[in-house]
Symmetry: C2
Subunit: 140 residues, 2 copies
DNA sequence: CTACATCCTCTAGCGACTAGAGGTGCAAGA
DNA sequence: TCTTGCACCTCTAGTCGCTAGAGGATGTAG
């Protein structure tokens, strides 16, 4: 059984070293055993768990949601209804976020296109910002 | 000259009362004059400035970017190149964010569609999270 | 006059890290 | 053997943009 240092765990999972320690501190990752010189010694399972967390974080899941997902993963005999619900909720969030970003994109485009590259007092960027009534998409 | 209280300023600008105070504290808004009983008394120009800030925040501009935009607004004889650059940078950010959210949406859809509503050990949600290699869009 | 809303200041908290100080341990080259 | 330099340790504080709450003063309506 070779010892996996925190640096190695970080490299293999793609989670940064301080973040690994942070996850341990908030109880997302069980405290690993320590070497004689007090250094953390991880198991392969920890790497998987870290990769799981990283992937979920990349997908924008919050730590609390991940905590739930991990509990589910730890007990595979449970119904996956919770996992499904969490993913669905996240999907709805993402869809909403995309919609609002699209409106935002349109507005920014109007601003940038309208910019005559002259002085600020003719600048559409500043103007649009100053007056929300001019928005092409006022619903934000 | 009627005195505008912080509550009124908040109502008219759409910025919350504690946030108005916060903006003052970080120097985004000049400290207004005070009444005899030490209450803030705002000018109509402050309301416009707050509305400007609110709109810019809604468009996702960071406080620092807004600070620059406000300086530009304060001096309309400057070239609007900076404002243009800030807006363009923000547009690029937004476009990137949309692209990555679309990839994310696709991945979440795969997860949710694949869920057989059975037990966790057959759950695609958990499975996909555990193994990034299964992503349809691995580039995140 | 009595409620009750609004104002004031100040401090602390949120999420999810990140940075830095100050120290120990370890392996490899001169 | 020494020393260089990296990786590790703990702890605290900072990031961003607010938000919440304590504890108190003031303003307004009935």
């Amino acid at each position: 059984m070779k010892k996996i240092t925190i640096g190695e765990a970080a490299r293999q999972s793609g989670v940064k070293v301080p973040t690994v320690r942070y996850y341990e501190s908030i109880g997302l990752l069980a405290a690993p055993s320590r070497s004689e010189s007090n250094q953390r010694s991880f198991e392969p399972a920890d790497i998987s768990r870290l990769a799981f967390i990283r992937h979920a974080r990349e997908l924008g899941f919050e730590i609390d949601a991940i905590r739930t997902l991990l509990t589910l993963q730890d007990d595979p005999h449970q119904s996956c209804a919770s996992a499904d619900a969490i993913a669905k909720a996240r999907l709805i969030e993402v869809e909403q976020r995309i919609r609002s970003l699209m409106a935002l994109k349109a507005e920014l485009e109007t601003m940038v296109e309208g910019c005559g590259h002259g002085r600020v007092d003719q600048c559409r960027v500043i103007e649009v910002l100053a007056d929300h009534g001019q928005c092409t998409h006022p619903h934000h």
